[in-house]
Subunit: 375 residues, 2 copies
């Protein structure tokens, strides 16, 4: 049913014709075999069943199978390295679908490379991709005049990575950079957090935020299975976080499935359980930004989102009255969603992802008291 039509784009696709590139011998580097723990974006340092999993292997027994399977998608994971090579090749194999009707293969299955320069500006690096059984991205002709401090390779948002290698020309330097040790911001959420429907991984809001804030971000977004479940909250507690963000309402809107009491109890229990283990870590509750009138004329879509936002507001008010400190609420209106921000009334376009990032950045800087830095 589905086929790509490369013919039409061949004019632009063949722009970077590297007749000589293949002749150059590459040295291959596998982050899973590296002495340095170089796979970043996770809340745990070790114990993974696969090097590209988001949860430690021990979590499998605690979690519903859907959550476990989704946690094998590499959303939010990235690999940092330095190299002097003007050409970088990434090759990898994955499990999972190639694309979704509203999200392209470059976002679902692709990788995305950024490079930080000496002024801490993040450049995007263009890659030629080839979605074969082994996926290959080739990043060529990298601007030699800009002094680069760090590359960051974002992994696929909706695929599980089985194996990955990074190639750099022989004779050039190459080193994986260790995972940063500062406390991460930990997000627990839905398909939106996981990255649907960013056109490429670097534009998922958790990845944009990580660059903007220069702080580790842990993406625990699980498609339609971000349901504020106790086993996941338990896992969250085991992370020494700087901030917990609970953004599961887009999966809890359905009144038939989740009664008023059920929704409110899940929110309250999640907050109280996090508070028990991590009394000083701020917690941010987030409304569904598509629960505003400007997002869609479809009342059957917007009204349930608004309802669940209101349910959470009531829990928030109650918890505040009961004296819970460092609890914050991010209201739907703050995101300024409108006719351009979602692809389907729920999942952000890249414009929506940018609004998410802007809004979260403002809120997180407010909570943590960190002033904005000029990019």
């Amino acid at each position: 049913m589905i086929r790509f039509f490369f013919r039409l784009v061949i004019g632009l696709g063949s722009l970077v014709g590297d007749a000589n590139a293949q002749e150059q011998p590459f040295q291959w580097h596998n982050p899973a075999n590296s002495d340095v723990q170089g796979i970043a974006g996770r809340g745990w340092a070790s114990g993974f069943a696969s090097p590209f999993n988001r949860f430690p292997g021990s979590a499998k027994e605690q979690l519903r199978n859907d959550v476990w399977q989704l946690s094998r998608n590499s959303a939010g994971l990235y690999i940092s390295f330095t190299t002097t090579a003007p050409e970088i090749v990434v090759r990898y194999t994955v499990e999972g679908g190639m694309a979704m009707p509203h999200m392209p293969a470059t976002g679902v299955r692709g990788v995305d490379l950024y490079a930080r320069d000496e002024k801490d500006y993040w450049h995007w690096v263009n890659g030629k991709y080839n979605f074969g059984d082994t996926v290959e991205y080739k990043f060529s002709h990298i601007h030699a005049a800009i002094p680069l401090k760090e590359y960051r390779l974002y992994l696929p948002l909706y695929n599980a990575v089985n194996w990955l290698e990074i190639g750099a020309a022989e004779g050039s330097s190459f080193a994986f950079l260790p995972v940063p040790q500062s406390k991460p911001i930990v997000f627990y959420g839905t398909s939106i957090l996981q990255g649907a429907c960013a056109s490429r991984p670097g534009l998922a809001y958790s990845n944009m935020l990580g660059r903007r804030l220069s702080q580790p971000v842990v993406n625990l977004g699980f498609s339609g299975n971000g349901l504020l479940e106790a086993p996941v909250i338990d896992l969250l507690q085991s992370i020494d976080a700087s901030l917990y963000v609970l953004d599961c309402l887009p999966n809890l809107y359905d009144a038939q499935r989740f009664s008023r009491e059920e929704v409110q109890q899940r929110i309250e229990t999640a907050v109280m359980n996090l508070r028990k283990t991590r009394p000083d870590v701020p917690i941010l509750l987030v409304e569904h930004p598509a629960g505003v009138a400007a997002a869609s004329l479809d009342t059957a879509l917007v009204n349930p989102y608004r309802r669940v936002n209101q349910l959470q507001q009531a829990v928030f008010d109650k918890l505040q009255r009961s004296g819970i400190k460092k609890l914050y609420l991010l209201p739907a209106e703050a995101f300024s969603f409108d006719a351009s921000t979602t692809v389907d009334g729920t999942h952000p376009t890249d414009i929506g992802m940018q609004r998410y990032t802007d809004t979260y950045e403002r809120m997180i800087r407010k909570i943590t008291g960190r002033p904005a830095k000029k990019q």
Copy 2:
């Protein structure tokens, strides 16, 4: 090789469960059989080989086959109507691929519905889609409290539409609105103009501009075949335009294929030929916005874009010196492209599409002296 994985999104996809919707009898309306010429976004009123073509049938003999075939894609076409129905169904058949690696099916093959209210604000209408042999979009639960003046249904960006019907509940009013008679802005360009890689048709910049400016826009973007060719310029001349926009440089960057002289001659000839027939219509030459350093670290990509921008600048200067009036240049820098604006170094993300729209809107208002209106 490619398959969608609906399972993962089913939680959100099944949100609008319309058990009763199918029982309601619909009245079907075919814009191709309507008394009113209701298919808008074209430079000609009649003579089409298919109702959803962008060029009149007579153009086929003049054009290279690639251009003709691409002109059958319905990019920029839309259908305006009014209805009191709270549910609208659109069904249609198409030719062409389902998706591209960097552009989802919703943009390539999907339709997109907007509704203008009494304050001239354009609401987006959420639709449930089904990409079967007959594509179906169902727009339900349309907000009844907002007084709507006009619906606008944008057609697929990268498919040719063969047949299309709009269904509205029996007993509700329905009328196609005639194509506006005011002079259009006519764009001639590439895949970027055609809409790659907007996530849905309403976010292609020509469609966003049409809403923003409340003015007809003609999209003559032809993927990799927007090459400033004489036969296309001849066709442009036959349109009584308010402004011509020539945005073909993203297809003319390749120095091996297009020498300095060739590029410059194509630009100069295009301008002079338009001037001959349409002496008073302003002409806007546009640089490739990805020809700026911030767009990509890939020098082999950015440098040819910069080169071709410079070639055009020289022609522009020469033509201005020779006394040509109402000729304008939109420089690459004006678009403020950066690390978030393209999916592949060339084609805009939705963020890039919005920058295109903002930049064009500013420039067009400057040229035409129309002040900005608050949305």
